[in-house]
């Protein structure tokens, strides 16, 4: 496979995953903001959603008054000035897919093209009902993409797209947890204190893990248990350990086919074995924020190593 094609496919995986994550973030935040009492609380909720995707105020900065449901939904979903908006991600995914089209099944191509067409040149999310309808469409399109992907030939193209998704997922979950934890932590309170039940439910919802949480912990959402789920439960595909295991496996799969293993494999295995030796208590002792920050950096290192290993242009 051409190196350029592999890079295109890997980034399709990342962009499609990022689009889906942002969709879920909007959905969960909509729910949270409609539950929160008063305009300030709602605005803070939306600020935190912006912070997750790296567009919130810097720590210590006061929330801007513009963080309304409408504005944030527009920024997250449709604004092309935000390079990570859903529309921007879908547009880049589609550009990559057009360029690597002969490495895709026609179903995968159509799923991506459909997702892109459905957002189209839309610039306004509309009211809450319309935004929810948009969210439903976007989610259905993500399912369509994943369904088409699942039926693809198991060759390098398939593994590279999955690899992109897995790398992106590790990044997204770490960000989500870090920002929410930081923003939701009441002043002067120790990590692990009592936090709002709805906030944690919203986090679980963003990673589609509400029921998973109940299944594992038989408890109302507790911060350290939510963190445990998102970090260490390999059964949850969006957990850090889950996606890190997937990266190891996918790299091995590609290596087995191409006879090419290297730095990316080594880093991915190292991260995975370190995660396996850590638990949530240790993380809280050494600091959750530091742990997540390192995790995001490590993920970025693996991303760079993948680019070098397969000579992405």
């Amino acid at each position: 496979m051409l190196s350029r094609t592999a890079a295109n496919l890997y980034w399709i995986g990342r962009y499609m995953e990022r689009a889906e994550f942002t969709t879920r973030l909007i959905e969960a935040t909509l729910r949270l903001s409609s539950l929160s009492y008063g305009a300030d609380a709602a605005s803070a909720t939306w600020e935190s959603a912006l912070a997750v995707v790296g567009r919130g105020p810097a720590p210590g900065e006061t929330a801007s008054p513009g963080a309304t449901t409408f504005n944030v939904c527009r920024t997250l979903a449709l604004d092309l000035d935000n390079p990570n908006s859903i529309r921007a991600c879908l547009s880049r995914a589609r550009d990559n897919a057009r360029s690597a089209r002969n490495a895709l099944s026609s179903e995968v191509w159509q799923a991506i093209n459909r997702a892109w067409l459905d957002v189209g040149d839309r610039t306004s999310p509309g009211g809450i009902q319309n935004t929810l309808a948009l969210v439903d469409t976007l989610k259905a399109n993500s399912r369509g993409f994943e369904g088409a992907l699942a039926r693809m030939l198991r060759h390098e193209g398939f593994w590279f797209m999955r690899l992109g998704s897995a790398v992106e997922r590790g990044d997204n979950s770490a960000r989500l947890l870090d920002v929410k934890y930081y923003l939701l932590l009441p002043k002067g309170q120790k990590v692990g204190g009592v936090l709002d039940h709805d906030q944690w439910t919203a986090i679980l919802q963003t990673v589609s893990a509400r029921n998973a949480y109940r299944l594992f912990y038989h408890d109302t959402p507790k911060p350290w248990l939510v963190a445990d789920l998102l970090l260490f439960r390999s059964e949850l595909p969006r957990s850090i350990v889950g996606s890190s295991a997937e990266v190891v496996d996918l790299l091995a799969e590609i290596g087995g086919r191409t006879g090419r293993q290297g730095e990316a494999d080594r880093l991915a295995r190292l991260r995975h074995s370190r995660l396996a030796e850590t638990n949530i208590d240790e993380v809280f002792r050494s600091g959750l924020h530091e742990f997540l920050k390192d995790s995001i950096a490590e993920n970025a290192q693996i991303d760079t190593a993948i680019s070098h290993q397969f000579r992405f242009p």
Binding site: M1, L2, R4, R101, Q110, N113, R311
Partner: protein
């Protein structure tokens, strides 16, 4: 000139009630299918094209972005006899074109014998000096030719243009057929239509056949300028249906006069490049140094005989419009017989008498730039404004050698679905001819382009033309439909 009613492919010169012999079934189908039903099916097809991303980009119109080429649901038919006649003419013409290009970049007999004036070739911008003296593997130059044919009467076919560089449109031929099979199955049940879906296989076989000698399992790639190119859809479609890599210039590198592609497993040697970029962008070391589309060193690899370039560099000389006017002489010279498919009468404005005639009859002529394409830089006299005619007159006087003129032909029409119901619209036809090491093959079909505006003669997709499926009907006794084997289900 416009007084005579154009020949209609379905109804002939008749009233629109009796189809030409051999076309009765299509006539019945058209009369029995309500316009609303045709429109519904056509809308379905266009929605499918949009969803599949079967699009092209329009140059100079950035607002437009990607468009689908309008698709017309009413097909155009050829009888077996018409097709056989056409194929013989096409094969003859392509063999002559190949012999001509080989001669021009080789011994130049045709120039020495003064059949074609030397300056028409050697002073031509399409004459590719770096290709001079290079003999491509197996001696084939125009591997893929798209020859534009127009028709003015039952037996009157003319060649309008030879596209011998990087002809496009074959993907629309194939996709139009797919759409028709799905939307009008009843029509195919009645007609013994010759299949065209073997085209990608024939194309791949051709590419393999022209690999440099010594390539055991030749590696073929399709070289595209990238996904912003107007024909990118076609590039990816063809690479995909042949199962070969679609590469851009930056995916290739040359070392020791051999071409390699950059893959995740390391460099892989490339034997055959089906290029869809023009000569001028092939190799920045030889041609345009500012272009990043090509591959540095590619021409050296080509000249060393280590890679086949399809079509070979320099074949543009064969589709230059000034050279076109000499095609009857060229066919006679190399084939020893008259051209089976005549040219449209052409005035070479370089020649003072032809220039004078052209200037005197601008309102009746079509004037074209010899190196123009896609309907750009042409004057259609009968529909042009006074200003346009005056502009062309000045341009002609200033640089007559850049122009040819042709009479406006009464192009044949085909019934077409329009806003006002089914109405005749002018068409042309582009079949695709493949020349491999062993044989010339022509898939029974081609791209019919249709001018959607009433009375318009401009069929180019870049000028708003549409396309139709083109059905070649097998002779009745030769209609060999696949034998059906019914296998019982086990319980």
């Amino acid at each position: 000139m416009a007084a005579r009613k154009a020949f209609d492919e379905l109804w002939g010169q008749g009233s629109g009630e009796t189809a030409r012999p051999g076309f009765e079934q299509l006539g019945d189908w058209l009369q029995n299918t309500p316009v609303a039903e045709l429109a519904r099916r056509q809308a379905t097809a266009e929605a499918a094209f949009r969803s599949l991303g079967i699009t092209f980009s329009v140059y100079g119109d950035e607002q437009a972005g990607e468009r689908i080429i309008p698709f017309d649901i009413i097909p155009r038919l050829f009888t077996a006899a018409e097709w056989d006649k056409l194929s013989l003419g096409l094969e003859q013409r392509v063999r002559a074109l190949n012999a001509f290009v080989a001669d021009v970049y080789g011994p130049r007999h045709i120039l020495k014998d003064k059949v074609v004036p030397e300056d028409v070739i050697l002073g031509n911008p399409q004459f590719c000096i770096p290709a001079n003296g290079a003999v491509p593997p197996h001696g084939i130059y125009t591997h893929i030719c798209g020859i534009d044919i127009v028709r003015t009467g039952a037996d009157d076919f003319f060649v309008l243009e030879d596209n011998a560089r990087t002809p496009s449109g074959v993907s629309y031929m194939l996709e139009n057929r797919e759409a028709m099979l799905r939307l009008c199955p009843e029509l195919f049940a009645q007609l013994a239509v010759k299949p065209i879906d073997t085209y990608p296989d024939l194309l791949r076989d051709m590419l393999y056949s022209v690999a440099p000698r010594g390539s055991q399992e030749p590696v073929c790639v399709l070289l595209t300028p990238g996904h912003y190119n107007s024909a990118f859809y076609e590039h990816s479609f063809l690479a995909d249906s042949m199962g070969i890599e679609l590469v851009e210039g930056r995916d290739l590198e040359v070392a020791d006069d051999m071409v390699y592609m950059r893959t995740i497993e390391g460099p892989v040697r490339v034997d055959v490049i089906y290029r869809r970029i023009d000569d001028a962008f092939l190799d920045p070391l030889v041609f345009n140094p500012n272009s990043g589309l090509g591959v540095p060193g590619l021409m050296a690899a080509y000249r060393a005989g280590n890679v086949t370039i399809v079509n070979a560099p320099g074949t543009g000389i064969a589709d230059d419009k000034a050279v076109y006017s000499f095609m009857p002489e060229i066919v006679r010279y190399y084939m020893g017989e008259e051209a089976r498919l005549p040219n449209v009468e052409t005035f070479r404005c370089r020649d003072p008498e032809a220039l004078r005639y052209t200037l005197d009859h601008l309102e009746q002529l079509v004037v074209k730039l010899v190196d123009g394409s896609g309907g750009y830089g042409m004057l259609v006299g009968p529909t042009a404004s006074k200003q346009e005619i005056a502009d062309f007159r000045a341009a002609l006087i200033a640089e007559p050698q850049r122009y040819i003129a042709q009479p406006t032909l009464a192009l044949s029409t085909v019934p077409t679905l329009t806003d006002a119901g089914v109405a005749p619209r002018h068409v042309d036809f582009r079949p695709f001819i493949l020349s491999g090491a062993e044989r010339v093959t022509i898939v029974p079909g081609g791209l019919t382009r249709v001018a959607l505006e009433k009375g318009s003669l401009v069929v180019n997709s870049s000028q708003g033309g549409g396309t139709k499926d083109s059905l070649i009907i097998a002779a009745p006794d030769k209609a060999d439909k696949e034998e059906q084997h019914a296998l019982p289900y086990s319980r």
